[in-house]
């Protein structure tokens, strides 16, 4: 018999799909990013020129790229810690032996995750409406001036971050919860006998035991948050004053609104490189953290 052949036949459909509709386009994107594929090339392929790294060079000189990158980094740098903090907090609450009705709370807190971004973004747009939104109504009750959440360039991104945290925290909460449940209970038992406070238990048992989970969740969340697109597309259309234009939004506009596919592919690859670098950096930093010399106090 020929088990090799059987294996390849089992693999063939999936590999074919991934090869033709993912791998091939990725390679093509790299090639495309070295050309000036644009409206004229769309009209007539003879208008296509090889431009080497010019797209990348031009992008690095474009203020819009840097501001889009800035907004994306802002979203990641503020959104990821907030999101993971909320997830961890919720998981700790759910893991507490004192919590009641755990399955209900777990389901309720997870519900936003399975909803459609577009639909919930529509809801948030109205919750944060300047005039009739609940958010400003609540602030007003506290005596705080209404905020033009989605209309003010300073507030639009924080509003989108709040939305993303609300939408996503349940996912990591489940993972953290599983991580917490995997910590042996006798560790806590021993700490309690030593008279350690809840905070010290968290600091010296929970946190280090969760370490690997935290790192993995962190990397996945960071790369997910770098791909910000649907939220600004629905909530602000990248505005006001392009203050919520993310890198992917720029790629979308550049590629499908203006049909500068060459330059848009360069945007996509730059994003990829940045995401890759950040992931490697996170892995490196975490390894240094594990090193005995740098042991946390």
């Amino acid at each position: 018999m020929n088990p090799q052949r059987a294996a390849w036949l089992f693999l063939a459909p999936a590999l074919l799909v991934l090869g033709v509709f993912f791998l091939l386009p990725v390679i093509a994107a790299l090639v495309l990013s070295l050309t000036d594929y644009d409206l004229y090339a769309l009209a007539n392929i003879h208008n296509l020129r090889f431009v080497a790294l010019q797209n990348y060079w031009a992008l690095l000189q474009r203020p819009l790229f840097w501001s889009a990158l800035g907004h994306t980094v802002y979203f990641v740098a503020v959104g990821v810690p907030l999101s993971m903090g909320a997830s961890l907090g919720a998981a700790l609450l759910l893991n507490s032996p004192l919590a009641k009705c755990k399955p209900f709370f777990r389901t309720a807190l997870f519900a936003p995750v399975v909803t459609t971004v577009v639909a919930t973004a529509v809801i948030w747009r109205y919750l944060f409406n300047t005039k009739y939104g609940w958010m400003n109504y609540a602030l007003n009750a506290l005596g705080i001036h209404p905020v033009d959440w989605l209309g003010d360039p300073h507030w639009a991104m924080p509003t989108i971050i709040l939305f993303a945290v609300w939408k996503n925290f349940g996912y990591n909460m489940i993972i953290f919860l599983a991580g917490l449940q995997a910590i042996p209970l006798d560790l806590y038992e021993a700490a309690r006998i030593d008279g350690a406070s809840s905070w010290r238990q968290f600091r010296h048992i929970t946190w280090p035991m969760l370490g690997p989970t935290l790192l993995m969740v962190g990397i996945l969340t960071v790369s997910g948050y770098f791909q910000l697109f649907a939220e600004p597309y629905v909530m602000t259309e990248g505005g006001p004053l392009q203050s919520t234009t993310s890198v992917l939004y720029l790629m979308y506009d550049e590629g499908f609104k203006w049909w500068n596919l060459g330059s848009a592919s360069a945007v996509a690859f730059l994003l990829f490189i940045i995401m890759f670098a950040v992931t490697v950096l996170m892995l490196k930093l975490s390894r240094r953290g594990e090193h005995p010399d740098g042991a946390p106090a």
């Binding site: 993912f22 004192l98 807190l109 577009v118 996509a268």
Partner: protein
């Protein structure tokens, strides 16, 4: 800390967090029954004074929502069925069939996970344009027919199948395909359910790719239709909320009915990775 106080604090916080998580969804449901303009009042009303179905009627009669709903169902179901078949076969092969280069190939696939899907989107559009699949259901379905994540999930699960079981079947003269259909598939049922829910939810909620590849209204899926409505009818909040309900409710119900499988799969796909 006083244990009773701690208990009250923890459960209080949980209730608070749950309210934050659910309030937007409940409010969406409530506003969707308000007459046009009903939500634009101060203080913002919690419940409709006179509940009305007019927003839903408007959506389905005039805004073409029934078409979007059917499109979403069709596209998501097709992606679910096809990707399930392809991922199962591939995941099983990676877990249980021996062939040269298996580990290296698998690692290459996992490595490909770091490439964001958007990198492929621009040339993929050109490719589909060349094949003639732009603005068709197939244009949305075809790229989703296999996923690295799905293959990975199946492989993780299928590794638990005892080799002796398969060997015994082989000795009995069963072909590989029959082994797969009659022995492996029944064992993989739990992961099939999980993967099916995952694929369906992901396909249902997908936004960027359908937005790019679907140009004609008649092919719009719900998220695209809703986003397009939201740009045209930004001021009709009640209508938009009804649209959001139609978009969210099916997946929410699916999740509620099958959450055990879904959450298990989520853990299998991440923690054990």
């Amino acid at each position: 800390m006083n244990p009773r106080l701690a208990k009250a604090l923890i459960n209080g916080l949980l209730i608070g967090a749950t309210m934050v998580a659910l309030f937007p969804l409940l409010w969406m449901l409530s506003v969707s029954f308000m007459p046009p303009g009903g939500a634009s009042a101060l203080p913002p009303p919690l419940l409709p004074k006179h509940a009305t179905m007019s927003n839903y009627r408007e959506l389905f009669v005039h805004a073409g929502m029934s078409r979007y709903l059917l499109n979403s169902l069709l596209v998501s179901s097709a992606i679910t069925v096809l990707s399930l078949a392809f991922n199962l076969m591939a995941g099983y092969a990676f877990a249980k069939l021996r062939f040269a280069g298996r580990e290296r190939l698998f690692q290459a696939l996992i490595g490909a996970l770091v490439i964001p899907a958007q990198v492929a989107m621009l040339p993929l559009f050109l490719l589909l344009k060349y094949i003639g699949l732009v603005n068709s259901y197939a244009g949305v379905i075809v790229p989703g027919m296999a996923t690295v994540f799905g293959i990975f999930l199946v492989r993780q699960y299928a590794r638990g199948i005892p080799d002796e079981l398969l060997e015994a079947a082989r000795i009995d003269g069963a072909g590989e395909w029959r082994i797969f259909m009659q022995i492996v598939m029944p064992l993989l049922k739990p992961i099939m359910v999980t993967l099916a829910i995952f694929s369906f939810l992901a396909a249902w909620n997908d936004f960027m790719w359908p937005l790019i590849v679907l140009t004609g209204q008649e092919h719009y899926t719900l998220p695209i239709g809703l986003a397009s409505l939201a740009r045209e009818h930004a001021q009709d909040s009640e209508l938009m909320m009804a649209g959001a309900v139609v978009t969210v409710l099916p997946v929410l119900l699916l999740f509620l009915a099958m959450q055990r499988y879904y959450l298990e799969g989520l853990l299998l796909g991440s923690v054990k990775g």
